[in-house]
Amino acid sequence: MSFAWARQYEPKNGFTKWVDEKLPLPRLVYNAVGAGYPVPRNLNYMWNFGVLAGFALLLQIVTGVILAMHYAANAEVAFASTEHIMRDVNWGWLMRYAHANGASFFFVVIYLHIFRGLFYSSYKAPREMIWLLGVVIFLLVMATAFMGYVLPWGQMSFWGAKVITGLFGAIPLVGESIQVWLLGGFAPDNAALNRFFSLHFLLPFVTAGVVILHIWALHIPGSSNPTGVEVKSESDTVPFHPYYTAKDGFGLGIFLLAYFAMVFFLPNFLGHADNYIEANPLATPANIVPEWYFWPFYAILRAFTFDFILPAKLWGVLAMFASILLWFFLPWLDKSPVRSGHYRPLFRKFFWFGLIPCILVLGYCGGAHLSPITIALSQIATAYYFLHFLVILPIISSVEKPEPLPYSITDAVLGSDKKPVLGENTTPAV
């Protein structure tokens, strides 16, 4: 896609002309992320997280391939080989901490990216496909992170593998066969560790493939923006390069500062100490919890403690998967023609005082010790979570009276379309 005023790629010298005739790859890049891609001029810092997520994926692939050169996927030696990486391999400690904290930072930026989309309704027409592919990416990244966490074969690795594959065991009739098939045995063992290694290596490349589709789908309608008003004229946009390459570069700098502060000074802060204990199939740690980025979903799983038509175990599993799968229907649940939350007073209230506290409570309960209070809190929050998407959002999208929208992106930025800085109406600077 491109707007009519997008700059065209012009090969400058003999070599680039020769390449352009044979394989116009530089042209493709120029039109995708170069000066040939016009982007709304009013994007705020919440629009940095797509690039950061892409960077985090790259970081994980590079450090991951390096770690796989030294790691041995065998239950006898997996834990020892991880310690070997920490102690003996040149810069091994850095690679391992970079990969482990890289996963956390991947989820930080992905969550901010998702909630950007939720607030500005980036999932609405014509951007449904971008959103759907994004949910696929999220599921892939969660599966990858889970299998990666199993590899060091510590206590949390082992019991995480047992519990998560146990989720499939809750499916009626075929569940136990599926669980045995996933594990290659009746409990996590060598067979499970070995295949998780293989799939943990494979899935990031599948993810990278879907990311390409995600970006491709984005480039058909072009980026959304904080007003939710579509691009009307050239003065609404600026070329991606150098304007947003520079802004994304700045965001990347901030990201790297925070990331390396964690890697160098608090490398174990986000991890669980029990994963420094080798896997023991005969003893479950007293405080077993998943990694922080799974806490909200774990809280939903644990919220179901009573049988109601179906067994509690199956309810928990269904609710946990449904909490993400319902995102696939989000573009059709929110029917309001107004995209941006900025102009939706009722939506805004339920977003900031409903959904966000709900997710924070779920996150807290998922990581906290089970007690009657945390169970009750996670039950309330789980109920609200589903109510928000399935009931509240469809209702407010039909009863809400939106605030007046700006005429255009330029109007929102400058107060008038008579003062464009680019395009045909531009008056030369005196």
């Binding site: 019991w159 146990g166 045995v180 098939w181 290659g184 045995g185 005969l282 479950t284 403690t305």
Partner: protein, 192 residues
Amino acid sequence: MAELRTEPTVGTTQETDAKDGVRRRDFIDIAALSAGGVGALAVLYPLISQMAPSEDVLAESTTDVDVSAIEPGQAIKDVFRKQPLFIRRLTDAEIAEANSTPIGALRDPETLDDRTLEGHRDLLVTMGVCTHLGCVPLGVAEGENRGDYNGYFCPCHGSHYDVAGRIRKGPAPTNLLVPEYNFTSDTVIRVG
């Protein structure tokens, strides 16, 4: 053309077939696609089946345990098919407690007699695998949390089992599984 018309049977068949939208040649398409589909499934099956338990995993069969050293009130942990096995010698008070529980109050109704062998009512042999998502419940070792019903407590999602290993509270759907076992001598059981 005239020659063709002299063969009315062929002409008629083709005309009727064409009316239904199906020609005899379409059968070749259907047959070819079917053969291809069967072939694809035949390739898919080994690709999926290779992940099922291999022969060496399936070969793990039985475990023998000497239970003579377990005093009443004590429990031990062993391994059966790479999963924990709990063996508890119940005290008289615990047997009475298990027998006094009303069956109607149980999520998965079973008496202590259903869960132990004739003549060995004091020996409770169960898998140490929580029936929720498979963690090992606490309660075997001295000083571990035995839950609200004096049996086992699963730390993963808070399931409470009673003194007979029956589910009483929490998300687990069924009682701790009693594996098949029998006494091979006065003091040794064979599980599996």
